[in-house]
Amino acid sequence: MPPRVQQLIDALTATPPLEGYLVVGALMFAIGGWGVLIRRNAVVVFMCVELMINAVNLTLVAFADYLPNAGGLGVSYAVLVIAIAAAEIAVGLAIVLAVFRTRRTVNVDEITSMRG
């Protein structure tokens, strides 16, 4: 096998470095934050919060797999984060439904009754 083909195969089968996962997590967190800032629909704001939580989870699991002293505990923390995110979604959607029932809107810019 010629050495250049071997090099190509080696490059294709190499494991990605830790920085790759961390950068993907950071970019996904930023995209979720952008959505939270610009969208008007409360349900979509919830979806973007979920994106941010998943980005942090990815970072935790990447550290758990790469850092030898972490002992793999980041995966356990990720399980706890998933449980708490599920609770947040249940309560948050209940609040959105309650707001929609009284105001007939889920536009977060129109819900201003607590503005000082």
Partner: protein, 178 residues
């Protein structure tokens, strides 16, 4: 491995952008499930297959369905124009997000992690279970965290019922003569 990494990266980030910029709310929810599937693929690559299964079951299954229910209950007049979908902070929000993302990515990649090798995660499901129940050494705090999480879930269930409950005589009941 690197091919799978780039494929999953593209899937995750493009779907995440789709959640933010898509005009239709249902499309946003479906893009969100695509992004979660990409994250599940990352978990498989990172030696956490049990967590990948949780991710598919909870996020791709349950949370997406919950979001679709929320959309069905609340989006009676569906907004179609970007003016009504996105508020006036579009460019300011983009600047903030690009700043945060760029800064985090720069810091995380500029840090010298020092020749780390993958494969330290709990590949066995039994190891993950021992970690979660605080049996293995170094994870004793998880006994407490596990119990706190169970109490929190119970409180969340009760809270969701109390908040979204409709009292007798409200809504559709109020039009009926008793």
């Amino acid at each position: 491995m690197i091919v799978a990494f780039f494929f999953l990266t593209g899937m995750t980030l493009v779907s995440a952008l789709g959640v933010v910029v898509s005009r239709n709310v249902v499309h946003s929810a479906l893009f969100m499930s695509g992004s979660f599937l990409g994250i599940a693929g990352f978990y498989v690559m990172l030696n956490a297959p049990a967590l990948a299964a949780f991710q598919v079951l909870i996020y791709v299954g349950a949370v997406t369905v919950l979001m679709l229910f929320g959309i069905m209950f609340t989006q009676r007049p569906q907004a179609r124009r970007y003016r009504t979908i996105i508020n006036r902070q579009f460019w300011a929000g983009l600047c903030v997000a690009a700043g945060v993302g760029g800064f985090l990515a720069y810091v995380l990649s500029a840090e010298d992690w020092g020749g780390l090798q993958a494969g330290n995660g709990p590949r066995q499901v039994a190891a993950l279970g021992r970690d979660l129940l605080g049996v293995s050494s170094g994870s004793e705090i998880f006994v407490l965290l596990f119990e706190v999480a169970s109490v929190l879930l119970l409180v969340a269930i009760v809270g969701a019922i109390v908040i979204s409950r409709r009292k007798v005589g409200e809504g559709i009941d109020s039009r009926v003569e008793e």
